[in-house]
């Protein structure tokens, strides 16, 4: 089993060459931070302010009646109310399962799709376009399509019916519903990951592939040693984005099961929506949203730390 030579490995592993002179680089880096200013200003006004309002609402008693006037500070009672009502435990579990499935299937599917679509053959372009087209459709359309496809008289059950099996309640069986919605959500996010992975794969110097082939590498090794190493920063970012997407995802649940049967498919974002826009308890809904944010902060810290590690590898 021929292994890839260190020459090929060096080409793949090394992203930047070693620095010429350290002090000059440091000054240049400070300068480049200026590039961040326009975005920072914009976000400070239009994104950070709503976040602050969210945090304030989560520790206040805010209903439509009190929205316009000053809010009563209630400390953590919005948070404890959520736990006391009992649903929060189930919902947390549902959310973790949901996010796990969407992340794993979304990333694996996206990478597999990107690898198989990286050629510039006509068919690949068409298929990629088809996938992105689907991704761009509103969730209400995609969700409705799957709701019909998975229904008792839908395509899947009709095919099953040919062999005489009784219909499977993909969306109303309490053990299957969460998985069904999570799988549909993964399906919806794969094209996005595929598109981004593909752009990253296409950025790989073709000479690296040639060198690998010269070393006698087989396609699987090509994938493992060349592609996966090269797309590592992209994988990192897509993992974060997909997890965030999973924690935010609400539309598919809304269209397909409305959190049901009962509360089987209720995840944190859906619960937050129910509390804020069905029960109109903005404080409670904000508290649920803040819990979600805290969960993601943990993830954000992991990402940030691996980013720093990646830079130390220079």
């Amino acid at each position: 089993m021929p292994t890839l030579t260190s020459r090929t490995m060096k080409k793949v592993g090394r992203r930047d060459s070693s620095a010429p002179s350290a002090p000059r680089r440091r000054t240049r880096r400070q300068v480049r931070f200026v590039f961040v200013i326009p975005a920072t200003l914009f976000i400070a006004i239009f994104s950070v302010y709503p976040l602050i309002q969210l945090l304030r609402m989560s520790v206040s008693d805010v209903t439509p009646a009190t929205l316009g006037s000053s809010w009563n500070f209630v400390g953590f009672s919005n948070f404890s109310k959520g736990f006391a009502e009992g649903t929060l435990g189930t919902v947390l579990g549902n959310t973790l399962v949901f996010v796990g499935i969407v992340t794993v299937l979304g990333l694996v599917g996206g990478l597999a799709a990107a690898i198989s679509l990286r050629g510039s053959a006509r068919g690949s372009g068409l298929l990629l376009g088809l996938m992105v087209f689907i991704w761009a459709l509103p969730p209400v359309v995609n969700g409705s399509v799957w709701k019909f496809l998975l229904g008792n008289t839908g395509l899947f059950n009709s095919i099953l019916g040919i062999s005489g099996t009784s219909p499977i309640g993909y969306l109303y069986n309490q053990h299957l519903a969460l998985f069904s919605v999570a799988i549909v959500n993964s399906w919806a996010v794969v094209p996005f990951n595929a598109l981004v992975f593909r752009a990253a794969i296409l950025n790989i110097d073709p000479e690296i592939f040639e060198a690998a082939q010269l070393d006698g590498a087989r396609p699987f090794q090509e994938i493992r040693y060349v592609i996966m190493a090269a797309v590592r920063p992209t994988t990192l970012v897509l993992t974060v984005l997909t997890v965030v997407y999973g924690f935010r995802s609400f539309d598919f649940i809304y269209v397909m099961t409305y959190g049901g049967p009962g509360t089987v498919t209720t995840t944190l974002p859906f619960l937050s929506y129910l509390e804020a826009f069905v029960r109109f308890d903005f404080g409670l809904g904000s508290a649920t949203a803040v819990i979600t944010v805290v969960l993601v902060i943990v993830l954000a810290m992991v990402y940030a730390r691996s980013v720093r590690r990646e830079e130390r590898e220079l």
Partner: protein, 274 residues
């Protein structure tokens, strides 16, 4: 040789699976758009074999749709441009700096994305109200930009990190300013990522409807995404209408994608040519 044969087995299988997974729903959408409301609930073979009619299309194709389409184009293009203007430099800046600040910034970008969109409607409504941006396309563009900039920055950063720093340094040796290096050396190399991000931003803002529904106060200003949401009424969902409208409103995107894909693809092979 070996490569072609081996990948000749798995890759086409994956492509075939993808084709089915993404082709069947599209077919289903088109089929449904050609049905009447009753035919939607046909079972068995009636799902595929039925007498089609285009009433769902003729019902929905009217002048107001064109206006909504124009509105969608303005919003999507405006958001795309604005996001790129601020996110591309930011992505580069965060790719090339180290230390505490960029790390915190990255974490903040992730956290900002977690704020539910519904939770931002009311604060933004107040801001736009006091700045006179309500019932104004610019307001919706700003809201969409705020929504998508963190996402764009996070997405662009790895593409900028993929540019070999040696090139930037040789540019510096040649005496180019930081800005010139960015514009003439880094951007061309990272154009794959920028183009991909731009496409995604355009598509997402094309489909965004929560801000559009809430910040436009008069009829006739709704973009296509809100028109689609109108198919879900209190009294029922017009399934053929919904699917027909989905097809209609997606055609402009399809056209755009076909047009720019050639550019994207050419841009790719350009760099690969020795």
């Amino acid at each position: 040789m070996t490569k072609k044969r081996k990948s000749g087995k798995i890759a086409p299988a994956v492509r075939g699976l993808l084709f089915v997974a993404y082709g069947v729903p599209i077919i289903w959408i088109v089929i449904t758009s050609l049905k009447t409301s009753n035919q939607v609930f046909n079972t068995g073979w009636g799902m595929i074999f039925f007498s089609p009619n285009i009433s769902a299309y003729t019902k929905n194709l009217h002048g107001a749709l064109l206006q909504a389409g124009l509105q969608s184009i303005i919003i999507a293009t405006g958001t795309c441009v604005l996001v790129l203007l601020i996110a591309v430099p930011a992505g580069y800046g965060l790719a090339r700096t180290t230390g505490r600040m960029p790390t915190i910034a990255l974490g903040a970008l992730i956290v900002l994305q977690m704020v539910p969109q519904t939770a931002t409607v009311i604060p933004l409504f107040q801001i736009f109200g006091s700045w006179g941006l309500l019932d104004n396309t610019l307001g919706v563009v700003i809201a969409d930009t705020a929504l998508l900039t963190p996402f764009a920055v996070l997405l662009l950063r790895p593409f900028f990190r993929g540019v070999p720093i040696a090139l930037e340094e040789s540019g510096a040796i040649d005496g180019a300013s930081v800005w010139r290096i960015f514009r003439s050396i880094v951007l061309p190399i990272a154009r794959n990522g920028v183009a991909t991000t731009a496409t995604l931003i355009f598509l997402i803002s094309w489909g965004e409807f929560l801000y559009a529904v809430n910040f436009f106060l008069s009829p006739g200003r709704y973009p296509l995404s809100a028109v689609l949401a109108q198919q879900i009424t209190a009294f029922g969902i017009d399934w053929p209408g919904l699917m027909a409208l989905a097809v209609i409103t997606s055609i402009p995107i399809l056209g755009l994608f076909v047009a720019t894909y050639k550019q994207l693809r050419d841009g790719l092979t350009l760099g690969a040519v020795k």
